[in-house]
Amino acid sequence: MLDLAQIYNGYYLEKSLLSVMPEAVLIVFAFLILLAGLFNNPSKNSVNSYYLALIGVAFSFLYLFMLSDHTIKGFYGSIVFDKFDVFLFTAILLSGFLTILMSKNYFDTRSVLIPEYYSLVLFSVSAMMLLVSSINLIMIFLSIEFMSICAYILTGYLKGESRSTEAAMKYFVLGTFASAFLLFGSVFIYAATGHLSLYKIHNFIFEQNYNAHYAYNLHTFLAIGLILLLVGLAFKMSLFPFHAWTPDSYDGAPTPVTNLMATGIKIAAFGVFIRVFTSIYSFNVFNFYNILWILAILTMTFGNFAALLQTDLKRLIAYSSIAQAGYILIGVIAGGYYGISGTLFYLLAYVFMTAGAFAIIIMFENLNLASVNIKSYSGLGYKYPLAGAAFSFFLLSLAGIPVTAGFMGKFFVFSAAIKSGYYWLVVIALLNSAFAAYYYIKIIVKMYMSDNNNNGGQLNLSNGRNSIIINAVNTNKDSQSYADNGSGKTALTEAVSLKSAAPALIIAIIICLIFTLILGIFPQPVISFASRSVTSLWSI
């Protein structure tokens, strides 16, 4: 029975509110952005809302930092704020932060509603955080829907681009379909255990495990419930065969949003899956691990196979993110202290490398240098050596080459899996990552080693044409001035590129670069952080 008195206990409420402070701040700022959008003139709007969003994320970080030592269960077990959250909140907020940094540049050239965009980003980030801190099926469902709805809207944000709308539509239909499964699964879990709270379900199963007279019907209900719940979660984690939305919606969405989906949503999905996993699946009821590792293998193999011949960069990264999900899942399956902390590490690493890659894609997209087709990247490595090097670095990190965060993540995850005895799983994963390297390297090949001697590709061609025109115009001038013209032209493009690559984007890239490197070289602080945060989970 409810203790109604407790509700009105100011201290309790305050504590409960504290537990959602980081999310609340974001939501407040989201509202602020919406409100500010009403009053300011449109030209200022975009700038204001951008800064407001950044400030919101900063405040959220601040609260997160302030609360980081606390473990607070708020609102009668709807939500919990613990060390696990701290880690994932950090990752999600970083993802949101980087997304916002990238967005400014991206949307400057496109006519869309800017304040709403930033508020939606903040909403979706807060939804992700809510999802991670949910310990109750109702909250899980609500947060997933909240997050998804934000994502649907953001995916379809590019008005007038049929690809964007199509992506939103596909995402919406599939997402809702998967949610229905999640819900139906919850029904069965509820029927089997009588609880919606993960803690209580955990306890129930824990008791039943030692109960000889475990009723068979509950057993069946639990099985069906667990499977359907897994379907719902697997969809968000984009595991094969529930991945189908991933490539299309990543492709159609505005690139910053793709980044948010690829990093934030994935982290949130894995975060909640780890919660559910450690509370429910970790008992390995009905040998549930079999399903999981089959899914892991299928996922990474499919992801890699599908990415192999991909020529569209965004889709390629979408498929690669499917494959990455497979690797991450291995860490979850490995379970335990090391498995989960490795997974967390991987997730954080994944944020930086993916966000970095997307930032560079956006940069090139904005410079109109490259579409997302790989072909247009040929020779870019020479033209923009630093950006090219950074992009290569991120791709290598995704491929799991050492000195990058990606390697360390894989290393932690695979070690944990071996420790738990999943030898074959690791071997398959390693083989997978070996052949996954091919398509990452393919991009690098395009950037640096294209057979096309004309380094700039199409761009250079047009340059060449221009200079021919100039030449034709200035026939009476001497060749020296023509040469000057030519070099002036290239210098001009360089200058333009530097100018239009906004500082925000460059900052985002630099952040990603630094962290990808640091996580790859000196992962000690982060892995300790992850290990500490894991302790607040159950059955660890």
Partner: protein, 627 residues
């Protein structure tokens, strides 16, 4: 390091210094390089003589320069042992080298690679000296290969000529085949004895089981077969005549090719413990002697004839060491070195005078035009034919007598037969070149060689004439035997030519064989009593066999070289490119084909996405149902 050691190390040092100096600064030294190179060798020769007398009137001694390899239990020093065997070789090598160097100053005068030539030659002398003085098997092996290398670069000295560079390569590779055996022998010695130094090996060899000793001996002999151009690895030596003639004289007649004989003499203890191996040596030696002489009879290239003669004479030496008559072998080695060096140098002189002509069908009547050359050549020829009192008579006779005394009558007969053939072919050469009418190009200005060339010839001819007398009084009691046998005394198979038969009877047989050979040549080529063409037709097969060198090169080409090449191509094209790379690329191909199929799952149709998802759900549920 006392003075003896110092002298010992100075002997190889000067040629090495010469090689380096001439190699690096040859461009600036120009014509002086010849004199410089010769001076170094002469110094070496003088020092060798000093050492000769030191040893002759003292004891053999060992001198260590430094520890070369020291890998846990494998220790090898760079050190020398100078004993009677080595000093003889030393003096012989440095002496002939000096003469050849001096001769070369004239012979190579106008060559572009004058300095290079002397550099190589000095390097060769250095290697040869070290080969002789080495006191362990590894060092021996090292310089064994080093002389092979020098021979390679000297044969290919005129590298622009394809035949020359081919010949050099062939020499090196064929030698390597022999060295393959040699190396294995060295390893076998080491793994069984734990050491490679001569003294330890020789003193402990009898502790090994006989089959091992035989194996070791045979493997070492394989090296000797390669280096000394014995059948079946003799094929490189005739081709080696592509090199400058002084090189042929020095390396391919006097010194390097005799290293095989030296090796067996050096390892006489090992061979004396293994009668089987010794028999093999004997058989190979006999076969080679016969085959080479047989081939030599019909060749037209004067250098090749002398080369085959060298092979044949080396066969004699091997027969000698094969029956354990090491002293006789070494005796013949030295005397052969002198007269064969002489023959080559005179052949060189002929070539010099004939502007490089080698075909004896295009010569004739040169006696009048180049008297010094002709006379020295004839001296050499007589020595080779074993006509007393020239040196060849004494040394060859010693071998034949040993064979006879040992009871190897078969090989004695072969020896006598070869003696006949030898006399025949060398006088066929002499008669064709120096006598009869000239077949040379009329425009050719034939001239006698300069003094710098003829003086060495004369010196050598003198030696060829008188050297044999150190083999007097006959056999065991001779000066030479007394000197050398101190080294072979502990050989257990030691078989001196025992006076079971009056020596003069045997000698008479040999002399008759030689003289009849000369006579036969005289009948054929001076008197022309027989129609040669008819004889050729009559004995078509035999003639063809001889003329085509028993088709051995062709057999090798057909049986080894071509199959190996084809096999290599097979390995490359089929195994490497098709099978292995095919598998690798096949996997890649398979992956990309699979990938293109897998991609079709994502066909853009929402229907199929929903369907995929449902199938996933059903499969998961089914898994639990069938579980």
């Amino acid at each position: 390091m006392n003075s003896k050691d110092l002298i010992v190390w100075l002997i190889p040092f000067f040629p090495l210094l010469g090689a380096i100096l001439l190699g690096v600064f040859g461009k600036y030294l120009k014509n002086y390089s010849g004199y410089l190179g010769s001076v170094f060798i002469v110094i070496s020769f003088i020092l060798s003589t000093v050492i000769f007398f030191t040893v002759a009137y003292g004891h053999s001694f060992t001198s260590t320069l430094y520890s070369w390899i020291d890998a846990s239990y494998f220790k090898v020093n760079v050190s020398t042992t100078v004993d009677r065997l080595s000093v003889i070789m030393l003096v012989m090598v440095t002496g002939i080298s000096s003469l050849v160097h001096i001769y070369s100053i004239g012979y190579m005068k106008d060559d572009k690679g004058f300095a290079r030539y002397f550099s190589y030659l000095n390097l060769f002398v250095f290697s040869m000296i070290m080969l002789i003085m080495a006191n362990n098997f590894l060092l021996l092996y090292v310089f064994w290969e080093a002389v092979g290398f020098c021979s390679y670069i000297l044969i290919g000295f005129w590298y622009e000529k394809k035949s020359a560079s081919n010949a050099g390569k062939k020499a090196f590779i064929v030698n390597r085949i022999g060295d393959f055996g040699f190396a294995l022998g060295v390893m076998l010695i080491f793994v069984n004895m734990g050491t490679l130094s001569y003294s330890s090996v020789f003193s402990g060899i009898h502790l090994l089981p006989p089959y091992l000793i035989t194996t070791i001996a045979l493997l070492l002999f394989a090296g000797a077969v390669g280096k000394s151009a014995q059948f079946p690895l003799h094929v490189w030596l005739p081709d080696a005549m592509e090199g400058p003639t002084p090189v042929s004289a020095l390396i391919h007649a006097a010194t390097m090719v005799t290293a095989g004989v030296y090796l067996i003499a050096r390892c006489h203890i090992i061979f004396s413990y293994s009668p089987d191996a010794s028999n093999v040596v004997l058989i190979i030696g006999g076969t080679t002697a016969f085959i080479a002489a047989f081939i030599a009879m019909t060749q037209f290239d004067i250098k090749r004839i002398i080369a085959y003669s060298t092979i044949s004479q080396l066969g004699y030496m091997f027969m000698a060491v094969g029956i354990g008559s090491y002293a006789a072998g070494i005796f013949h080695l030295v005397s052969h070195a002198i007269f064969k060096g002489l023959l080559f140098l005179t052949a060189g002189s002929v070539m010099h005078g004939m502007s490089g002509e080698l075909d004896l069908r295009k010569m004739g009547g040169l006696y009048s035009k180049m008297k010094k050359t002709a006379i020295t050549f004839i001296v050499g020829g007589l020595a080779l034919s074993g006509i007393p009192p020239f040196s060849g008579f004494f040394s060859k006779d010693a071998i034949l007598a040993s064979l006879f005394n040992k009871g190897d009558y078969f090989f004695w007969i072969i020896g006598e037969l070869v003696a006949f053939m030898t006399a025949f072919y060398i006088f066929r050469l002499i008669f064709n070149v120096f006598f009869g009418e000239s077949h040379a190009d009329k425009n050719l200005h034939v001239h006698e060689s300069p003094n710098v060339m003829t003086i060495p010839l004369i010196i050598l001819a003198c030696f060829a004439a008188v050297f044999g007398f150190i083999g007097m009084p006959p056999f065991d009691h001779s000066i030479f035997y007394n000197f050398i046998n101190k080294d072979f005394a502990n050989s257990f198979n030691f078989s001196p030519a025992v006076n079971n038969y009056p020596w003069y009877l045997l000698s008479t047989v040999s002399v008759i064989a030689g003289l009849s050979g000369i006579y036969a040549a005289y009948v054929f080529y001076i008197k022309k009593s027989f129609d040669l063409e008819m004889l050729k037709k009559r004995f078509k097969t035999v003639y063809a066999l001889s003329f085509n060198k028993l088709y051995i090169d062709e057999i090798y080409d057909f049986a080894i070289v071509k199959p190996m090449k084809n096999f290599s191509v097979f390995l490359w094209r089929v195994v490497d490119s098709f099978v292995i790379d095919g598998a690798v690329n096949g996997i890649a191909q398979w992956i990309s084909v699979t990938s293109s199929k897998v991609r079709k799952v994502q066909n853009g149709m929402l229907m199929s996405y929903i369907f995929t998802l449902s199938v996933g759900v059903i499969a998961l549920l089914a898994y639990y149902f069938v579980r």
